[in-house]
């Protein structure tokens, strides 16, 4: 029962075992797109695609859903606006000082504060959304094979699969134009 051993659990979190699969290295964008199409047709849905830059061709081939980061931005922006309104109005009425018979809580000048707080909270929650989704939530990130050339000039596809299916995947990646294929 290694799952109940706290040392083993921690080790599993910080040094997770590698995911078995095949890694293909591509020099060309269109070859990568072709390989993604063939993998999808072959039933391999769970592959990880690496690229030095974001490309719409890859997004279209993967048919990804729109990122949930937008919900973070929306909620953060609305929350910021509300906090701006609360801050100004509460602080005005907490110690009301009437100047020139004007309303204690006069909204037009407070719009400036509400606007700035909308932007501030919207931006900070967007960052949290990216970190949460792209970095922290990517649990498998440390376990799938990767190559340092992927941040420079190569594209890559990692296909998780059992060792007995690896030969077929290797064949598929090579046929699509991978310049290098290796098992992980």
């Amino acid at each position: 029962m290694t799952a109940l051993n706290p040392v083993a659990v921690l080790k599993g979190i910080f040094h997770p075992p590698p995911t078995p699969g095949v890694l293909g290295v591509f020099a060309h964008l269109d070859a990568t797109v072709e390989a993604i199409g063939r993998l999808k047709a072959g039933g391999y849905q769970d592959c990880t695609v690496y690229s030095p830059i974001p490309r719409h061709e890859l997004e279209d081939a993967l048919a990804q859903r729109v990122s949930p980061v937008r919900m973070f931005t929306l909620i953060g922006g609305i929350a910021g606006c509300a906090i701006g309104a609360w801050l100004t109005l509460y602080m005005s009425y907490d110690w009301p000082i009437v100047v020139g018979g004007k309303p204690v809580g006069s909204v037009p000048p407070y719009v400036v504060i509400m606007f700035e707080m909308t932007i501030l909270f919207g931006a900070l929650t967007t960052i949290l959304g990216i970190l949460f989704n792209a970095l922290f939530a990517a649990r498998r990130l440390g376990t799938v094979a990767w190559d340092p050339r992927f941040t420079n000039d190569k594209f890559g596809i990692f296909v998780p699969c059992e060792p007995k299916a690896a030969a077929a995947v290797e064949q598929l990646l090579r046929a699509s134009g991978a310049e290098e294929v290796r098992r992980a």
């Binding site: 070859a31 602080m91 970095l135 340092p148 050339r149 000039d153």
Partner: protein, 461 residues
Amino acid sequence: MAQTTAPPPPPSPTQAPATRLTYDFVTRAIAQTLGHPGKGYFALLGSAVTLLAIGIICLLFLLRYGLGLAGYSHPVYWAVYITCFVFWVGIAHSGTLISAILFLFRSGWRTAIYRTAEAMTVFAVMTAALFPLIHIGRQWYFYWTLPYPNERGLWPNFKSPLIWDEFAIGTYFTVSTVFLIMGLIPDIAAVRDVVTGWRRRLYSLTALGWRGTNEQWRHYTRGYLYLAALATPLVLSVHSVVSWDFAMAIVPGWHATLFAPYFVAGAIYSGVAMVITLLVPIRKLFHLADIITVHHFENLAKLCLLTGMIVSYSYVTENFVAWFSGNPHERAAFWYRAFGPFWWASWTMNICNGILPWLLWVKRVRTNIVALFVISIFVNIGMWFERFVIIAVSLAGEPFERWSNAGYNPTWADWGIMAGSFGWFFMWFLLFAKNFPAVSISEVKEVLAPPRRGRGRGGAA
């Protein structure tokens, strides 16, 4: 090993720069900026630190002897420090324009220069934020401006433009910093994978585990879009709010509805000029002539021309309205500006901002980097004097109580602290450019043709 295509030929020096750039070339050209920078860099850094030291010494005198050292006399209590504050906030603005607004407009040319502009934004806001603290006199009570109740339960007055300004500048600093760091992550990862030694460890830590997976790009590109969309109204609001520090008061020369767009245009004008001032040495010191080309400088010059024309138009409008309003105080203020004891400041501003940008209509000037560098420095001098004229000269010429006006002149402490602010700004900028990619690696690659089979470009080894 299945090799489907023959290795592409190496880039030929006879091809146009845009077509001989490959992904690998871009990574290495930008990663080499982090190597040994040469004597020129250390000479610049040394000058910046010297200026900063002068500023710190003057500031210590100011702390010891108080604001009397700043030459204030009734009614001039806002002078060089507030001028420097507005100047540096203005400098910051073009960075966000280039990184966010041009991003939304899908301007490909921004990719080679936006990192420099964005870093400039962050360091300029850092510089600007010092000045209200220097200006308040009892600097150790700066935290009184934060929204917390004092011992009598009083909160800050949210009807005051000074509090709006605090929120605007605070938000601007936070958002532009996270925007800069966000853009850096994929580039730090790219550098991490080509360098060795302690840099590799530093960049492994700061790349936050970036590997360029489809999931990472999916969230990153979407988040970046929203950050740009949030930063765009922010940049327009920040200098509007700064302008309301003045426009909400009744001092003639300040109290104008024109101020918000006038200040925003002036901010972008001076900021673009500062980008040119910074890019010329960066390009030279770090050998980036292949990536930052004359085309980029010409586009920056066009932005400078556009905003310079808006600024010139605002000058004409401002003077015309002062005359046309028939308001004797308004007329007196503008007469004092042009022909009073500070005529030299006004005419420096008019010549540098109203007349000099007309040179940029000429293509030969726009494509001459030396000429642009010189013009950009004069634009910055002009824009500093614009703020000085608006702030200090309007107060000195305040026509309501002429009998109480005393003479005002900036003192050595003012000039020393202003010089120190330039040292502070350039020091941070030079340290940044040396230690982090000052040109975006992934975004420069985005505007190149991607490597495709049969064409062999982009992915050349």
